[in-house]
């Protein structure tokens, strides 16, 4: 039997919701007629340089009976060799409980002649199997496919006892689509949320189906620094709900969601600690009186005294599997061990035990999607941190994130809407972004330049904030050798001919201290020599940087994960027979909105013949890390100006 949720015969039709009704579908077995225009078309309609264009793509989803039945029908016009390559083979993967039936395909050339797929062209393959799981695929090669041809294929998919709860309906793909339509016949009441396709709604169609269509959908393409795919692609999510759509709001949804979490997670136990937990909190915070000091103490306890099994590089999968899950914060406290979530819950308990109002924060994950409270679906949020009210202000902590410094959250958890869950109610608010100053790379170089242009010296780089977290996550599981190789790759990405030695990598697994590199470097021909001059880029750390944006045009918004800053302090002892010929300093590059700032100072210690280079850079001021595509040119110009200044050349002249 199908596992049916509470379903009611109504359906929301609010901002992003609609109503479906029950009826039957019809199945067409004949190929639909091809238009002469499509057959002879030489150029695509939606995007002029497309390799192939989907003429139509229909998916008919029938969730009205015990099984979920889907009918797929795709028609594609091929315009180039790349399009031919893309559509030359078709795989339809499926697992146990899914049947793929009635596969048909044909290719029609511009002259109208067709080749149909035969039964023997279709292969049933076991892609992967274990003693319990089997993944299969129906696969076929499309015969006689060539540029100019139209390829069509269709098949039926039946999921035994399947249902469409939380089904994602994708309207945008990596090829342009002239028309994509979902026909949907729900079991009962249901709702959906649309994304990046606000104009599209399900409307009543024939035989109990509802229909949602998009026309002329451009292909989804990758661009540098773009937001997560869910933020740019056109898609919707369907779900069943027992709420009265006419009266129910997003707030009602979150209230019900929160209530469910409170029950399932035992939030009351977490946020209403017992005597033992109070005693523990008092003991841990002993000696601290100021709220921030007390919170810092329990944060430190949770982060450093509780073994976080999600971050133990020595723990193998089987050892992790053998650990009995903690059922309460008391378990975590007594065992001094737990998952990241356990650690955060314990922190919430201890904070509450000290008398602070603490709540479990459920927020969006900005690496996946930018969460808004109005988007009432539980898949968009997760337990991300703990909010503690200090002096009337919510502050956010996540000691379960081993390498995120005190006072910060991971970049994907900050700057997002959040639900703060207590055991009686919830509130919504926004977690603020971090500042550029919190995520800083402090880079120091003490170099000597030889007469032949070779640069040798010692480098120290300290990464703080998000950068520290990212470097630690990239390195803490690796061997010392791999960590060194990572550094060499990092250096050579900037200066390809550099030789790195005497490497020291510090604080790789330290929860708070900055991730630090110290190394010696030699770069032959770092400065270019002509007859009487040496040309030198004093900004060693950025000397090999490439422009961040190269394309003249932009389709999607520009997204930086987090604000950051850089402080470079470089001294270069110049060859004794050379003196500074020219040390023009690049002009300051900054914007009026104080989002970014680059200042470079170049000086000379005449007595010691040492060039002194200081650089300060920040980006993401005032929390600005997302820019609309219309801002591309100014953003690109800004980064071009940064790059020009960063790679500024000075001249030394032989005495």
């Amino acid at each position: 039997m199908k596992l049916s949720p509470p379903r009611k015969p109504y359906f929301a039709l609010a901002a992003a919701c609609a109503l479906f009704l029950l009826t039957m579908s019809a199945t067409a077995q004949e190929w639909r007629p091809l238009s002469p225009q499509d057959l002879t078309a030489k150029t695509p309609v939606v995007e002029p340089d497309a390799d192939a264009e989907v003429l139509f793509w229909e998916i008919r989803v029938d969730d009205s009976s015990e099984n979920l039945a889907m009918k797929h029908y795709v028609r594609v016009k091929i315009f180039s060799e790349r399009g031919r390559e893309k559509y030359s083979k078709v795989d339809i993967p499926f697992r146990k409980g899914i049947r793929i039936k009635n596969i048909q395909a044909r290719v029609t050339k511009p002259d109208g002649t067709s080749t149909e797929l035969t039964k023997s062209d279709v292969f049933d393959r076991e892609i992967a199997k274990t003693d319990k799981i089997k993944v299969r695929a129906k696969s076929f090669a499309v015969p006689n496919i060539e540029p100019g041809a139209i390829v069509e294929y269709r098949y039926d998919e039946v999921q035994d006892s399947g249902w469409a709860e939380d089904m994602r309906m994708i309207f945008q793909d990596d090829v342009p689509i002239r028309s994509k339509t979902y026909y949907f016949k729900p079991a009962a009441g249901g709702r959906y949320l649309t994304f990046n396709m606000e104009e599209t709604k399900f409307v009543k169609d024939k035989n109990g189906f509802f229909k949602a269509s998009m026309e002329n959908v451009p292909a989804l393409k990758k661009e540098p620094q773009m937001p997560p795919e869910d933020e740019v692609r056109s898609w919707l999510i369907f779900y069943y709900s027992s709420d009265d759509p006419k009266r129910s709001t997003a707030s009602d949804f979150w209230a019900r969601f929160g209530g469910g979490i409170v029950k399932r997670w035992g939030v009351k136990d977490t946020l209403k600690p017992d005597k033992e937990m109070k005693a523990a909190a008092a003991s841990i915070a002993a000696g601290a009186t100021a709220p921030d000091d007390q919170i810092a103490k329990i944060f430190d306890f949770c982060k450093n005294k509780i073994k976080n099994i999600d971050f133990d590089p020595q723990m193998t999968d089987d050892q992790r599997d053998e650990i009995k899950p903690n059922k309460s914060t008391s378990d975590t406290y007594e065992r001094l061990q737990g998952t990241s979530g356990d650690v955060n819950e314990l922190f919430a308990s201890l904070a509450t035990a000290l008398g602070y109002e603490a709540r479990l924060a459920f927020g969006g994950d900005r690496s996946e999607k930018f969460f808004k409270v109005s988007q009432a679906h539980e898949s968009f949020i997760h337990f991300s941190s703990v909010a503690v009210k200090i002096n009337g202000r919510w502050k956010y902590y996540s000691p379960g994130d081993k390498f995120v410094p005190y006072g910060m959250l991971a970049w994907n958890e900050e700057a997002t809407a959040v639900l703060l869950l207590g055991y009686k109610d919830y509130i919504t608010t926004e977690i603020p972004p971090s500042t550029p100053e919190e995520t800083v790379a402090k880079r120091t170089g003490r170099f000597t330049l030889s007469e032949d242009g070779t640069l040798t010296g010692t480098v120290k780089i300290e990464y703080h904030g998000h950068l520290s977290n990212e470097y630690k996550l990239d390195n803490y599981k690796e061997s010392a050798n791999r960590q060194e190789e990572n550094l060499k790759d990092h250096v050579k990405a900037n200066v390809s001919t550099a030789t790195v030695s005497d490497i020291s990598i510090q604080n790789v697994s330290d929860p708070e201290k900055p991730f630090t590199y110290i190394y010696k470097v030699t770069v032959p021909n770092y400065a270019q020599k002509t007859g009487k001059r040496l040309f030198l880029k004093p900004g060693y750390f950025e000397s090999g940087s490439q422009p961040l944006f190269s394309s003249a045009t932009r389709k999607y918004s520009i997204f930086f994960h987090h604000p950051w800053s850089e402080e470079d302090d470089i001294e270069i002892t110049l060859p004794k027979d050379f003196a500074l010929d020219n040390a023009d300093t690049p002009a300051r590059v900054a914007d009026a909105g104080k989002i970014s700032d680059l200042q470079i100072e170049i000086g000379i210690d005449q007595a010691k013949n040492i060039l002194v280079y200081k650089r300060k850079f920040l980006f993401g001021g005032n929390g600005f890390t997302l820019f609309g595509a219309s801002s591309y040119q100014p953003v690109k110009s800004l980064f071009d100006a940064f790059q020009t200044a960063n790679t500024h050349v000075i001249t030394l002249k032989q005495r």
Binding site: R82, I127, S139, Q314, T316, T497, N525, A552
Partner: protein, 661 residues
Amino acid sequence: MRTVLRSLTSLVFAAIVLLAGSVAAFAGDDTAPSWMKQAASQTPPVYEKDVPAVVLHDEQQVTLGSDGKLVTVENYAIKMINREGRNFAIARAFYLVSAGKVRSIEAWLIRPDGSVKEYGKESILDLIDDPDDVYNEGRIKVIDASGDVDTGHVFGYTVISEDTPLFYQDRWQFQGRLPTLVSRYSLNLPQGWKASSITFNAADVKPVVSGSRYTWELRNLPNIPPEPMSPSVDNLAPQIAVNYGPDDRTQAVNRAFADWLDVSRWAASMYDTQVVIDDNIAAKARDLTANAKTELEKIRAIGTYVQNLQYISIDIGVGHGNGYKPRPSDLVLSRGYGDCKDKANLMRALLKSLKIDAYPIAIYSGDPNFVRKEWASPRQFNHCIIAVKVSDATAGPTVMTHAKLGRLLIFDATDPYTPVGDLPDYLQGSYGLVIAGDNGGLALMPITPPESDLLERNISVTLTDSGAVTGKISEKASGQTSAYFRREHRSLSSSDFRKVIEGWLTNGSAGAQLVGLSANDKQAQSGFDLDVEFAAPKYGQVMQNRLLVFKPVIVGRRNAIFLTEPKRTNPIEMDSHAMRETVTFQLPVGFVVDEVPDPVNLETPFGKYTTKYDTKDGKLVFTRSVTMNRGTVGADKYAGVKDFFAKMLDAEQSPVVLVRK
């Protein structure tokens, strides 16, 4: 590339993840087999810190039964030296559905404390070997313990598999990149059978013979470090090729081969019957060559058609030899797709209908040094191309003279980017088996001269007194260089190709703008032209309002090489190509050249590089020229090679200084 739902590769990964979640944990009281315990008790030497693991024991025991079945027992144990070694804790067993099976696969983990974990049936994942083929009988059973192991752990496995050998031949590579303490291959043959071996990449390894059991063994093999421009491991690791068979050779027909002629005869029996010339084939050949006037034009017309057919591989009956047998040419024509041997065979049929003889060539794709002439075996090949018999009227760098067959034009009908008259560089200089029955045999494929793979670039630039430039780049590529550009151009949409060119320009100067772009693919002539118009507002840097400094190298070489490691273990392999560039700068009024870099003239056996600067009539003309010769340079000459590339790089970074008059 394939389409629709999800890529199968990602699906395979998803399946692996599913499995990882489904494997039950075992108690720590399991027992490892004695061979593994013994292997684990060894103390390996201390290796360089970048060696992630050491193979303690690598053994294959192969037994040919009187029923003709080959049973292979593989015992393998590896110790993790550091955390990167975890990725090697995977047992794999390949089998062909039609001709073999894996009887059992078991694995064990011995932790440093001596406790043992055993991996049984629940841990086995059975996968298709090549998700990209529409159908392929090759499958692989996998036990992945990489998540369970850490430094000091020993992982080992035993695989027992069974198959019917297609040939009485085998190959054993004593190691991969990892150091190996014990590597052993043993062959148990029926009474009266004999075996012999040929050793590659090492001194002759002689077997220990006991009755009809032969054992080859090497110990304490050092690691083979990965290095750029290095020969493949196949050409560095010691290996043996083994031939075996009964005394009565008549019992081993088509399974054992005395020489390459023997292989040619066998292969011809697989290919020749598949050349089916029906009315459709004949009509297609006539249609394709309707406007062709010469022999070469006919070959080109048919070659172009076949190489543009969709590549699709459907491998059925591989265990019975079908992996060496093309599908009938009439079927391939009607379906409009095929793999390499299908394409070669179809081309052969089309040519034959025009009374032009052609022969398939079995070859190895990817490493021209892979095939060894000392071992006559079909097992050395993974690809099929074609040799077309041509008259004296047809000439070119890919025409070779065969002792028995005369002049042959060599062509790869699978590579869609290399036209008739050229050959992919990864096949040039390789041995290939010309499949022509009694007239066939092994032959060395032609090598085109560096001047055939030429990039000629002319750039004209106008420089202003603020350092801004506007200019035009005109590139003419030929040979394999044009194939490289063609591949890039065809694999990208026009907007994506434009972005690549924009990136190429901006790497030379921040803020560079692409003003005009025109690509002209002249595949038939093995050429590719590219014309670019650009502007860069901050190309040169003005200093003290007096000097104007800029790099004469506007755009980089796309195949720049960086050799930075101080020492080298492996030889260096060089590809051949050539580039000639002339950049003409119209200098800003009021400025004269103050300094130019010294000209460079490097000449070595493996390559030549020159730069030159000329100033005349307010113009600066910069020329550079590179010619690299194909070949292998010994590791002892590494310093010279490294110095050569370093000097090239330095020359291309050096600026020109103009001074205001």
